[in-house]
């Protein structure tokens, strides 16, 4: 099973570059004599329950492969128990994988020795945790500076750098509080700042916002979007919340029982689910907010070339609906000054109703 399918649609947002993380055939099996499981084709073919009763082992991650490209937000999505948290921990070997390869910038992570691995964790990948993982006995500032302290950065310098990051995540004035005195959202900002302070190549998020209230969660999501826009840092984001995944992800890997069932852009996932499980999963998604007009448009007839409002090809359907409704006429899809197609109200309605053919 390979999920590193190249996008068939023209990728307009990001040009493909060399992957930051490259994962190939990754397995993580918990249980006695875990190593025999990935090696034995008979066992790998078993369903989870059967595997458990036969061997006493649980495969948290089953033969997962994907690339994380530079500068993208890569979301791993799945319900609890789907193995997504184990997967992200395997990336920096917080959990030791059972089989498969992981490479960061082409370097084999599984072959790293202790000091090299520490180097990786210190400088190249920093993680944000679901329950924040803050040190309760330290102030906000010292928590943020903790990663630098571990690297051996001097006190004055690390405090100064930490103060900058604290400001960046909007916690000015709270530098000397303890985590216990902060709200959940503020705590997670500290967690985020701690990860940012070491200026890592990749940020790993492990369900960072699932412990937060909905309103605060939205704030934090926007914060991440903003940071990504400003810094363009590569992010791997774990979540069980489909809306969050669709909102943040450039690409989404959907996991079930340890395996990736579909990998693609939000639009691909919503527009053409790989199987019934995914279809069921995305059923209630407001499609008009995910699908772009590119999938809904048809070729423009000659008469339509010059008329009607113009929308960009990666505008969402809901934006197009607004334009069409206002103009009371089909909208032109304009890419770099050229009209590539037209969306009319029927096409848009079909998307909303979910009756449009799965195009992607």
């Amino acid at each position: 099973m390979t999920t590193t399918t190249q996008n068939t649609t023209p990728e307009t947002r990001k040009p493909p570059t060399a992957p930051v993380f490259s994962v190939e055939g990754l397995w993580k099996v918990f249980g006695p004599k875990a190593h025999r499981v990935p090696a034995d084709p008979e066992l790998t073919a078993l369903a989870p329950a059967e595997l458990r009763s036969r061997t006493g082992c649980t495969a948290a991650v089953r033969d997962v492969s994907f690339d994380v490209r530079k500068g993208e937000v890569f979301v791993v999505m799945g319900l609890s128990g789907s193995g997504k948290s184990t997967l992200v921990r395997c990336l920096t070997r917080l959990i030791e994988p059972t089989a498969g390869t992981i490479a960061i910038d082409g370097e084999d992570v599984r072959a790293m020795d202790k000091s090299r691995l520490r180097e990786l964790r210190r400088h190249r990948a920093a993680m944000v945790f679901q329950h924040f993982g803050l040190l309760p006995h330290r102030t906000v500032l010292d928590n943020v500076a903790y990663g630098l302290e571990i690297q051996g950065v001097g006190k004055a310098e690390r405090r100064q750098r930490a103060a900058e990051v604290v400001a960046k995540v909007g916690l000015e004035g709270m530098e000397h509080r303890r985590p216990g005195q902060l709200s959940g959202g503020q705590r997670q900002r500290v967690g985020l700042a701690r990860a940012l302070a070491v200026d890592p190549e990749v940020l790993l998020f492990d369900e960072p916002f699932s412990a937060l209230d909905p309103l605060i969660r939205r704030d934090m999501q926007e914060e991440v979007v903003r940071l990504h826009r400003e810094e363009g840092r590569t992010m791997v984001f774990i979540t069980h919340d489909l809306n969050e995944a669709l909102k943040l992800g450039d690409r989404i890997a959907l996991m079930r029982d340890g395996a990736v069932v579909q990998l693609g852009t939000p639009e691909e996932i919503v527009g053409s689910p790989a199987d019934d499980y995914v279809r069921e999963f995305v059923r209630d998604v407001p499609r008009e907010q995910v699908m772009t007009v590119r999938t809904a448009m048809r070729a423009a007839s000659a008469g339509e070339q010059g008329n009607g409002p113009a929308v960009a090809p990666d505008a969402t359907v809901s934006e197009a609906i607004e334009a069409v409704a206002r103009a009371k006429a089909p909208a032109r899809v304009v890419d770099e000054g050229r009209c590539v197609g037209v969306v009319d109200s029927e096409a848009l309605l079909e998307v909303v109703a979910g009756t449009a053919k799965e195009t992607v």
Binding site: R118, R122, M127, L135, P136, H137, R138, Y146, I150, R178
Partner: protein, 648 residues
């Protein structure tokens, strides 16, 4: 390949019931085979003589050898001698510092430290407590006890923390240490005295070392618990930032465990104080010795005069370390360091002022002698309460009735039971409540008592323990239920319980002699008083922690308070109640043993005898029997859930 079937929760009660029945059936089977065999071979009500091993001979030889070689053998000259010397040097150094600071300096320093660690109220309390020690004419003994305590607590903390660190970081060490520490926790303080005396002789070094052995285990346990209980995600976060093992330990694991560490310090201090007092029996000097001396002349007033400073010290130390633990995580006060400097400067200034004024020793004229009034009150009590009180009878009559109607039948009954049936009962109880492992430990411990040849006195002690536990539980559960149902009762009880719980075991002996005379009844009474606070507290907590939703639903169904208690609270608080039983048994045993000093007889008497006559063989055998008895009682009352929980 093994197949693993997960038990379904629905089937659990049935499985449990079956399991209990299966256990019983198995035991009956084993008994049916073994008992006739054992009975035919060694038919006797008491432990068969053929199965005892006489250890007193080699023990006497060993103890004589030690006394004869203590000043010449290299083992003593180059090892124990240095330990003993180090203890003496340290205690002396602390003592001299305390004396040099003078009473004003010590009081000021203690109050200022309390102020910095906790707050103004406790600082005032601390100051008053120290001054009270002076007013009672107990300044010098207080300082001696304090010096001994400081050294013993520091040593206990270092030893305990190191052991805890080892057991917190290494699973193998944990597996090896945990049962040992758990067991040491339940042993009566008295059992620790003898081996130390054997090696070091009477005096301060032996007292300090016995204290360390007694007080270090809680520190070790809590350190390990803190290290193991650290928030996994925090540790993962630290790991994810690339911390080395050492960084992880120093910047995360230890600071994360600081609440447990402080709690360990608190418990260590309390146990050290309790032991430092008991160790007066082996020449610790200080306050404990004054209590011990007063006890010898039935001088309740003098005993109280020395006992009050002990209680004050205990309460102050408990509150200050406890409050320090609670204040963890608060926002650090601004310029905290500067205030520490002020505090220390203040203390030094007062000490210097005291020195210049020539007022180092507590002035003799400032003492308050209240032994007289107390003794008059006690005399009045013995005159009027002791006997001949109309209707309810005097305390002596109660003691006599308790002895005749409860203690005697219980003892005679236990001693009448054939030895194998005692083992069988122990096995049944332990197995029903715990696992086959706990049952095995309990039976082996009980059998060891027989092998040591102290079967009869042990059963005598056991009968006292059982009687005292029964009284404790009845009173404790009743009070606990009352306190759980009424906030006012709980508010009234809390300070009383606090004081009673911090009081060293020794202090309880004085009033009970005055009230109940001599014998097993006063020993049992002292044990009841000592164990009651813990039982009441655990019961109250257990009942109060019952899920409010369950209570609410019971109320909404119209249950009466009695029904609520019987059908909801008590079943749901079952685990707390079991814990209360366990604690009650352990605490009662500790005091029943000390009851040897007031005529409790049996094992306690033999330990006292061993110490008093220098007949360490008798004492050590009795001490070992106490250890076995403690082990057995703990295992028999220890539900498995508790073990499982602790193993997490």
């Amino acid at each position: 390949m093994a197949t693993i079937t997960a038990p379904t929760p629905r089937g659990l009660p049935a499985v449990l019931r079956n399991r209990a029945v299966a256990k019983l059936a198995l035991l009956v089977l084993a008994a049916a085979i073994l008992v006739p065999l054992a009975n035919a071979r060694w038919a006797s009500g008491s432990w068969p003589a053929a199965l005892t091993v006489d250890v007193s001979e080699p023990l006497t030889t060993a103890s004589t050898w030690i006394i004869d070689n203590r000043d010449s053998h290299p083992l003593f000259l180059y090892f124990f001698g240095h330990i003993s010397n180090a203890v003496v040097v340290c205690v002396r150094a602390v003592y001299l510092v305390l004396l040099a600071a003078g009473w004003a300096g010590v009081t000021a320093a203690a109050a200022l430290v309390a102020w910095r660690v906790t707050g103004l109220r406790l600082a005032a309390g601390t100051g008053v407590a120290f001054l009270a020690c002076g007013f009672l004419g107990m300044w010098i003994p207080t300082m001696q006890t304090l010096a001994l305590m400081v050294v013993a607590v520091l040593a206990s903390v270092v030893v305990g923390a190191l052991l805890g660190l080892a057991s917190g970081l290494s699973d193998r060490m944990d597996r090896a240490l945990r049962p040992v520490l758990d067991t040491m926790q339940v042993l009566p303080a008295y059992a620790y005295l003898l081996p130390v005396v054997l090696v070091f002789g009477m005096g301060v070094p032996a007292a300090v070392l016995a204290t360390v052995v007694y007080a270090a285990p809680p520190m070790a346990r809590l350190t390990a618990l803190g290290l193991r209980g650290a928030d996994k995600e925090v540790l993962e976060a630290v790991e994810s930032l690339g911390a080395t093992a050492r960084q992880r330990l120093l910047t995360a694991r230890i600071p994360l465990a600081r609440k447990e560490l402080l709690l360990g310090l608190n418990q260590t201090i309390m146990m050290a104080l309790s032991m430092a007092v008991i160790a007066s029996v082996i020449g610790a000097g200080g306050l404990g010795d004054r209590v011990y001396q007063a006890l010898a002349s039935v001088d309740v007033g003098a005993a109280l005069t020395a006992g009050i400073p002990i209680v004050l010290l205990a309460v102050v130390l408990d509150r200050v370390t406890g409050a320090a633990g609670e204040r963890l995580g608060d926002e650090p006060q601004p310029n905290g360091r500067a205030r520490w400097v002020y505090a220390l400067t203040g203390a030094v200034a007062v000490a210097v002022a005291g020195r210049l004024a020539g007022r180092l020793d507590w002035p003799d004229t400032w003492t308050l002698n209240f032994a007289g009034p107390v003794n008059r009150a006690v005399d009045w009590m013995t005159d009027h309460l002791y006997s001949g009180v109309p209707v309810i009878g005097g305390t002596a009559d109660w003691a006599a009735h308790f002895t005749t109607w409860i203690l005697d039948p219980l003892r005679d009954g236990l001693q009448w039971l054939p030895w194998w049936s005692v083992l069988l009962i122990v096995a049944t109880l332990a197995w029903l409540i715990g696992t086959w492992r706990t049952a095995l430990t309990a039976v082996l411990a009980m059998a060891a008592i027989g092998v040591l040849g102290v079967w009869q006195p042990s059963l005598d002690t056991l009968s006292q323990v059982l009687a005292a536990v029964a009284v404790t539980l009845v009173l404790g559960f009743a009070t606990g239920v009352a306190a759980a149902r009424s906030d006012r009762v709980e508010r009234l009880l809390r300070p009383v319980l606090d004081v009673f719980q911090t009081m060293p075991q020794f202090v309880y002996l004085i009033p009970v002699v005055a009230l109940f005379g001599v014998g097993r009844a006063p020993a049992a009474a002292a044990a009841v008083v000592y164990a009651l606070p813990a039982v009441v507290r655990i019961t109250t907590q257990g009942l109060r922690q019952v899920d409010p939703a369950a209570m609410e639903s019971a109320r909404s169904l119209g249950a009466t308070p009695a029904q609520q208690l019987r059908q909801v609270q008590l079943p749901l608080a079952r685990r707390a109640l079991l814990l209360a039983v366990n604690q009650g048994v352990v605490l009662v045993l500790a005091v029943v043993i000390i009851g040897g000093l007031v005529g409790g007889g049996a094992l306690g008497y033999e330990v006292v005898f061993g110490l008093a006559q220098g007949d360490l063989a008798t004492g050590l055998v009795a001490g070992a029997a106490i250890v076995c008895l403690g082990l057995m009682l703990d295992r028999v009352t220890q539900p498995t859930e508790r073990r499982a929980k602790k193993g997490a």
